[in-house]
C-alpha cells in the first residue's frame, strides 16, 4: 500500500515536472498539425525565397530564360561585386543615410518622449498626433513631401526663401539624400512612444534620492535617465538600422535613385539590378552581401552597448 502510494506520488511529481499525463504516449506530430498553416506559410514565403536567393547568388540568371537558363558561375558574382563602383557608391550612400537618419530619429524621438512624459494639457492627444505619421501610408507621405519640397512652389522653400535659401531638394544630386533623411520624422513618433513607456519604468527612488542630493536636470538625465533608457535605445538603434538599410519605398516613389545615382542606396541598387536589368543572380548576391553587412552592423551595435545599461 505504501509502495503504491509512493509510486503514485512519484508519477504525479513526474507529470508535474514534464507536463505529460502518465500512461499517455507523447504525440508530437499533433503539434505540427496545429502549426501547419503557419508553418506552410513560413516555408512558402520565407524559407523558399531565402534558399532561392542563396542559390541564385551563385548563378547567372535573367528570369525570362526560365529554370533551364540558370547557369552556375561559382563566386563570380561576389568577385564582380567587389569590383563594381556602382555597388560601392550605393554602400557609401546607404552608410550616410543610415548614419544620419538613425541617430537623428533616436535623438528626436528621445526629446519628444521626454517632452510628452511631462504633465502637459492634452498629453494623450499629443501622443496620438505624434504617432500618427508612423501609420500613414508611405505613398501619402512621399507625395506630401514632394509637394512641400517643390523647389519653386513648395511651402518649405517659400519659408526658406525669406532667408535667401532655396535648395532644389529632390531635383539636386547634392540635396536629394539630405531631403530623404529629413523624412525620418515619420519614425520619430514611434521612437517617442517606445521611449515614453521606458521613461515610465525609470526607477523613481533614484530620482527622489537625486532630488534630495540637489542634482540638476542634466545630472539626473546623464546619471539616471540615459542609463535606464539604454536597453530601449539599443533596441531602437538595431531596428532602425535594419529598417533604414532596407529603405526603398520613398526612394522608389520620389527620386528613383536619382538625380544621377545620388540616392541609389543598396536596396534600390539591388532592385535596379534585378528588376530593371534582369540580372537576378547578381542582385541575389548583392542581397546576401547586404544581409551580411547589416548583420555585422547589428551585432557590433549590440556588443558596443552591452553591459552599460543601468538595469543590467
Amino acid at each position: 500500500m505504501a509502495t503504491a502510494t509512493a509510486t503514485a506520488t512519484v508519477a504525479a511529481a513526474s507529470a508535474a515536472r514534464t507536463g505529460k499525463e502518465p500512461g499517455i504516449k507523447p504525440r508530437g506530430w499533433i503539434g505540427f498539425l496545429f502549426i501547419a498553416p503557419n508553418l506552410l506559410g513560413v516555408i512558402a514565403f520565407t524559407l523558399t525565397p531565402l534558399i532561392s536567393v542563396i542559390v541564385l547568388a551563385f548563378t547567372d540568371w535573367n528570369l525570362v530564360s526560365g529554370l533551364g537558363g540558370i547557369t552556375f558561375t561559382g563566386v563570380d558574382n561576389f568577385v564582380a561585386i567587389a569590383r563594381d563602383p556602382g555597388f560601392w557608391n550605393a554602400v557609401g550612400l546607404t552608410m550616410v543615410y543610415v548614419g544620419l537618419s538613425v541617430p537623428l530619429t533616436v535623438v528626436l524621438g528621445l526629446a519628444l518622449g521626454i517632452a510628452l512624459n511631462r504633465p502637459l494639457p492634452g498629453r494623450a492627444a499629443l501622443r496620438a498626433i505624434f504617432f500618427l505619421p508612423y501609420i500613414v501610408n508611405v505613398v501619402a507621405i512621399g507625395m506630401t513631401w514632394l509637394m512641400l519640397m517643390n523647389p519653386t512652389a513648395g511651402l518649405v522653400n517659400q519659408v526658406l526663401g525669406a532667408f535667401g535659401l532655396e535648395p532644389a531638394w529632390f531635383a539636386s544630386s547634392h540635396w536629394a539624400l539630405p531631403a530623404l533623411i529629413v523624412m525620418v520624422w515619420g519614425g520619430v513618433g514611434y521612437c517617442s512612444l517606445i521611449y515614453l513607456s521606458a521613461l515610465q519604468d525609470a526607477p523613481r527612488q533614484l530620482y527622489e534620492a537625486a532630488d534630495i542630493d540637489g542634482a540638476g536636470a542634466w545630472a539626473k538625465f546623464r546619471v539616471i535617465t540615459w542609463p535606464s533608457l539604454l536597453p530601449t535605445t539599443i533596441f531602437l538603434a538595431v531596428t532602425l538600422i535594419i529598417g533604414a538599410s532596407q529603405g526603398f519605398g520613398l526612394i522608389a516613389l520620389i527620386t528613383a535613385g536619382g538625380p544621377g545615382d545620388s540616392t541609389t542606396t543598396i536596396s534600390y541598387y539591388m532592385y535596379q539590378t534585378g528588376f530593371q536589368f534582369y540580372r537576378f543572380g547578381y542582385a541575389s548576391a548583392i542581397g546576401l552581401v547586404t544581409f551580411a553587412g547589416v548583420l555585422i552592423l547589428t551585432l557590433l551595435t549590440w556588443r558596443a552597448q552591452r553591459g552599460r545599461a543601468l538595469n543590467d
Partner: protein, 432 residues
C-alpha cells in the same frame, strides 16, 4: 459510437494532398489551359483592343478571346515575364520596349513566325531588313511591329499666332532653338524639351559602334549641350521642375495648361488633346516635323508595339489568326490609342477621325496633321542591336539629368555615359 481515430500516416497524407491541391495549380499558373485565346497587351481595353477583339470574334465566331491589360512599366513587364515563365495561359502578348523584346525573344518565349509570314503576301513588309518592322533573330521572325510611331513637334496654335511665329514645314535644330526663344514669355516657356539630336543625326543602333558604345560620336555631346543651354536661357522647361513634378509622365498636363508651347512627342499623346471632358482646353494644336540635325533627317520615331506568340501556346493557329487580324483588317480601332498601323491599311479619313477625335477641326489644325503625319514618309529607326540596352538607357538618363540640372558639363556627362555603356556592353558580351 466510437470516434474514428486517424493514424499519423492518414493525417500526413491528408496534409500532403491538401498542400498538393494548393501548390500544383499555383505552379502551373492556374491549372489547365482554357479554350479561350488569351491576349496580353499594354493598351487599356477601352482604348481600342476591346473593339479589335469584338471585330475578330464577329468574323471568327469559333474563337473566343480574352484581353488582359498589363501596365507597360517595369512592374507590369515583370508581371508579364513571370506569367510567361510560370506557364500561365497566355497565347499572344505585346512587347513595347526593345530591352524586354530581346530578353523574351532570346529566351525562347517567342514563336518563330517566319514560315507563316512567307506564306502571306500582304505580310511581306515584315521580312524587310533594311527598314525592319519585325524583330528578326538569327534569320527567324520573332515579333511583328503593330504600330508606327513617328515623332513630331506640336505647337499651341493660339500662342504661336500670338507670337507671330510661322509654322515650320522643314527646319533645323538651330531653327527649333530660335523658335523656342521667340515663343518664350514671362508666363510661358518656349519648349518642353529638345528632340533627340543624336538619334536624328545617326538613326538606328546609334548607341553602338562595333563591339563598343558610340558615345564618342560628337552628336551626343551636341544634344546634351543644346538642352543645357536652352534650359539655362529659359527657352526650355527647367529640369528641376521636370524632375520634382515628375513631368516626364505628365507632359500633357503642362502643355494643356499652356506652361510651354513646343512639345516634341509621338501619336500616343494625341489622345489627351481631343478629350475635352477630361482635358479641357481652348486652343488648337498644329503639327511640325522634327527638326533636322546637320542635314540628317532620321525622324526619331520607330516601329513599335511588337506582337508575339507564345511558343508554348496549344492554340497557335488561332493565335496566328488573331495576330494577322490585328495587323491587317482589324487595326483601325487602335487609332484612337494613337497607334498608326504598320501596314498602313487604313484610309486617311479613318486616321483623322480615329486619332483626332470626332471633331478633328475643333482641337487640331488638320491640314498640318495631313502634311506631317499622313503625307510624309518619315525615316523611322528601329534598333536591332540591344546589348546591355537597359543599363545604357539608365546611364543616359542619369547623366542627362545631371547635365540638364546644370551640375555637370555636357562633355563630362557623355564621357561618363560612354564609360558605363562600354562596361555594360563588355560584361554582357562576356557573359553571353
Amino acid at each position: 459510437m466510437r470516434r474514428k481515430r486517424f493514424s499519423r500516416r492518414e493525417v500526413l497524407a491528408g496534409i500532403g494532398a491538401a498542400a498538393a491541391a494548393v501548390a500544383v495549380p499555383a505552379c502551373t499558373g492556374g491549372g489547365a489551359r482554357s479554350s479561350v485565346l488569351q491576349v496580353w497587351g499594354g493598351v487599356p481595353a477601352a482604348s481600342g483592343p476591346a473593339a479589335v477583339v469584338e471585330a475578330f470574334q464577329k468574323k471568327f465566331p469559333q474563337y473566343e478571346v480574352n484581353y488582359t491589360r498589363f501596365v507597360n512599366d517595369a512592374r507590369g513587364n515583370l508581371k508579364l515575364d513571370t506569367a510567361l515563365q510560370g506557364g500561365l495561359d497566355i497565347d499572344v502578348y505585346f512587347t513595347y520596349t526593345q530591352a524586354s523584346m530581346a530578353l523574351r525573344a532570346g529566351s525562347g518565349l517567342a514563336a518563330d513566325l517566319t514560315d507563316r509570314i512567307k506564306q502571306d503576301p500582304q505580310l511581306q513588309p515584315f521580312l524587310d531588313t533594311v527598314e525592319p518592322r519585325a524583330y528578326i533573330d538569327n534569320g527567324k521572325v520573332k515579333a511583328l511591329a503593330s504600330a508606327r510611331e513617328p515623332a513630331f513637334v506640336l505647337f499651341n496654335e493660339k500662342l504661336r499666332q500670338r507670337a507671330g511665329v510661322e509654322l515650320p514645314r522643314q527646319w533645323t535644330i538651330d531653327d527649333y532653338r530660335a523658335t523656342a526663344r521667340k515663343l518664350t514669355r514671362d508666363d510661358t516657356i518656349g519648349a518642353y524639351t529638345i528632340p533627340d539630336v543624336a538619334r536624328i543625326a545617326l538613326g538606328p543602333n546609334y548607341w553602338y559602334d562595333g563591339d563598343r558604345s558610340n558615345f564618342g560620336e560628337p552628336h551626343f555631346v551636341q544634344g546634351f549641350r543644346l538642352g543645357q543651354e536652352m534650359i539655362a536661357e529659359g527657352s526650355a522647361f527647367p529640369w528641376t521642375e521636370v524632375l520634382s513634378r515628375h513631368l516626364d509622365a505628365y507632359q500633357q498636363n503642362s502643355f494643356l495648361g499652356e506652361e510651354f508651347h513646343l512639345w516634341p512627342t509621338a501619336p500616343f499623346n494625341l489622345r489627351y488633346l481631343y478629350d475635352a471632358k477630361k482635358y479641357p482646353h481652348d486652343f488648337k494644336v498644329s503639327f511640325a516635323p522634327p527638326p533636322t540635325v546637320d542635314g540628317k533627317d532620321w525622324n526619331g520615331g520607330s516601329y513599335s508595339n511588337f506582337v508575339m506568340i507564345n511558343p508554348n501556346s496549344p492554340k497557335s493557329d488561332a493565335a496566328w489568326e488573331f495576330v494577322k487580324f490585328w495587323l491587317t483588317e482589324g487595326s483601325a480601332p487602335m487609332l484612337r490609342a494613337g497607334k498608326l498601323p504598320t501596314l498602313g491599311n487604313v484610309t486617311d479619313d479613318q486616321v483623322i477621325t480615329g486619332m483626332l477625335g470626332k471633331e478633328p477641326g475643333k482641337f487640331f489644325d488638320v491640314e498640318s496633321f495631313r502634311r506631317v503625319v499622313l503625307d510624309a514618309d518619315p525615316k523611322l529607326a528601329t534598333d536591332t542591336r540591344l546589348t546591355a540596352f537597359p543599363e545604357i538607357s539608365l546611364a543616359v538618363k542619369q547623366q542627362r539629368d545631371l547635365c540638364w540640372l546644370g551640375e555637370l558639363d555636357p562633355g563630362a556627362a557623355i564621357r561618363e555615359v560612354r564609360r558605363l555603356a562600354d562596361a555594360a556592353i563588355d560584361r554582357d558580351e562576356r557573359s553571353s
